[in-house]
């Protein structure tokens, strides 16, 4: 059922799998904004502001990039976002795995209630909870530091819940074998379960990273000093009340997006299970 035989069985009409014909248009639909970002980042402000919008740049204008790069704080913002996102990912991977595993595999009084309450904290929308959260962060003296952006997301109900669901799916036999062999819970978790759950880890890592990377609303409230801006916050200041440096905004967004996509692409291998290697045909 793997892809190998399929290639040999092909009728020899197309030099590539027919699936590409489906995948290309589908993917294109999603890629449109990236293309538009790319194209408009090389336009001058004047051209971007033209109406109806033009798709092909008059010539390669790099004012947008120059504006971004000339901004002395841009690398700092990038670094801030990287620190925050990585810290949040690490926190969620460690503590989310622990909690998710406990919920999935261990029986303890009140586990269902606890999980429900954790999810329940998500019910009140951010627009309201941001004020008491701000208050708490202020009491912890974290306002206007990266800590204020890291700590509230260090573990999220999302990570806990998702890990729980993934762990529920894993075959118990391997774990129980290790358990019987005398491995402690922690060691079983670390050396047996976690390697099996690589797709889950990658998924939580990627999704948590991206949500944090793109977050604007909370850093906007929690951070004042422009040395502590995250990238999205910094880019938002390119948009003025009446005038916006659009080519800079587009260039900035591209610089923010491309490394993430490249990293994601490079990390594709971790999404593939090491033990089970089949592709399930749909």
């Amino acid at each position: 059922m793997s892809a190998e035989p399929l290639r040999r069985r092909r009728r020899g009409r197309l030099p590539f799998s027919p699936w590409h014909l489906v995948l290309v248009p589908v993917t294109l639909v999603f890629v449109v904004p990236l293309l538009w970002l790319l194209v408009s980042s090389f336009m001058s402000n004047a051209q971007i502001n033209r109406f109806p919008p033009t798709i092909i740049p008059d010539s390669l204008h790099i004012e947008g990039y120059r504006y971004v790069v000339r901004n002395a704080l841009f690398p700092r913002w990038f670094l801030n976002s990287a620190i925050v996102s990585l810290a949040v990912v690490v926190g969620n991977l460690i503590f989310g795995v622990l909690a998710g595993y406990a919920f999935a595999r261990m029986r303890f009084r009140g586990s269902r209630l606890l999980l429900a309450v954790m999810l329940g904290t998500l019910i009140i929308p951010f627009q309201i909870t941001m004020i008491p959260t701000f208050l708490i962060m202020k009491k912890l003296a974290l306002i206007d530091t990266l800590g204020a952006v890291i700590v509230p997301s260090l573990v999220t109900p999302f990570a806990v819940f998702l890990f729980r669901q993934f762990f529920l799916n894993l075959p118990r036999e391997i774990e129980e074998a290790a358990w019987i062999d005398g491995c402690s819970r922690l060691r079983t978790l670390w050396s047996v379960v976690v390697p099996m759950a690589r797709p889950a880890l990658s998924t939580v890592a990627v999704l948590t990273f991206l949500t944090t990377w793109n977050d604007l609303a909370w850093p906007l409230i929690a951070i004042n000093n422009d040395h502590n801006y995250t990238l999205q916050l910094g880019l938002a200041t390119f948009q003025g009340q009446h005038r916006t440096q659009w080519s800079a905004v587009m260039a900035g967004n591209l610089i923010a997006v491309v490394p993430v996509l490249v990293a994601f692409l490079a990390a594709q291998r971790t999404f593939i299970q090491s033990l089970t290697s089949s592709a399930v045909k749909g």
């Binding site: 904004p33 990236l34 586990s111 909870t129 999220t156 999704l207 793109n214 609303a217 997006v257």
Partner: protein, 287 residues
């Protein structure tokens, strides 16, 4: 004996998550509830009025409209995004060249900021000069109002929400599909099961836990949609895309009516609670 130690270990494992999630989550919930019992603009000392906010909100036609819009959005968005996510995940779950690239690109909407998306879609769906109407004109379809038409705007938002939200489901489903053991699939094939049967009896049941996760998660997201509305329509035109969280934001930060906003948030929470209890009952009856 083992069970005792298990409980202890379990609590140790969940402790850090509890500390952050509950520590930083419970207090805001209590604070918000207290706020909903007050008349407050967050700037001057508040005034206690008990449940009056809830009384007024139950009679507020704007709020009722907001709830209606939110429910319509959710009812359309959730099943569609999960179905589309599953379909795309199955499509992307094969070993052909460039599959890594395809998977990455499907994810692009998730990576691009909400602001950039807002500008992009305002362009595309601009009713006089936008790309969408230009395409329709080519097919001799009359131009649509899109964001200027109060009957279309909400559905347009569902579409855009789908476009930007499906990548999330795809990634989660893809990861879950990897967990499905090859042996089971091969055994099914040996037993003579066709593709559909394999899907129905092997793949689909194995996807249950993540499907449940996605159902819960996307429902929460849909009921709380805000960013999309904020960057495209600001609740318009004519309040046709005012959803509950946008209503909350307006009341709290434009109308200086934060107590009322908190009450609105709690009504939404209450609806969610009722929904989830209802679902719990339904499932218990099945099992």
């Amino acid at each position: 004996m083992r069970r005792l130690s298990e409980a202890g270990t379990a609590w140790a494992y969940v402790f850090p998550a509890c500390l952050i999630i509950l520590g930083l989550g419970i207090l805001p919930m209590i604070w918000s509830f207290i706020l909903s019992l007050q008349v407050s603009d967050l700037i001057t000392p508040p005034e206690w009025i008990g449940f009056k906010n809830y009384e007024v909100i139950s009679r507020d036609p704007h709020f009722r409209a907001a709830v209606g819009h939110t429910l319509v959005y959710t009812a359309l968005f959730v099943p569609l995004v999960i179905a589309a996510g599953l379909g795309l995940a199955l499509l992307l779950n094969r070993r052909i060249r460039l599959i890594g690239l395809y998977r990455t690109l499907v994810f692009v909407p998730f990576v691009v900021s909400a602001t950039a998306q807002g500008v992009l879609f305002s362009f595309i769906f601009e009713s006089h000069f936008g790309l969408a109407n230009a395409v329709l004109r080519w097919f001799s379809i009359p131009p649509q109002g899109f964001f200027t038409d109060e009957h279309q705007a909400l559905y347009l938002l569902v579409l855009i929400g789908l476009w930007s939200g499906v990548g999330f489901c795809v990634v989660v489903f893809l990861a879950a599909l990897q967990d499905i053991q090859e042996e089971l699939v091969e055994a099914a094939a040996l037993d003579g099961a066709g593709r559909w049967a394999t899907f129905r009896y092997v793949v689909w049941p194995a996807l249950q836990p993540v499907t449940i996760f996605l159902l819960v998660w996307q429902t929460l997201q849909a009921l709380q949609v805000f960013d999309l509305v904020f960057v495209t329509t600001r609740g318009g035109p004519l309040e046709s895309t005012t959803v509950v969280v946008f209503f909350v934001w307006q009341q709290a930060f434009q109308q200086f009516n934060a107590g009322y906003a908190a009450a609105a948030a709690y009504v939404l929470a209450f609806v969610l609670l009722v929904l989830s209890i209802g679902v719990r009952f339904a499932r218990r009856r099945d099992t």
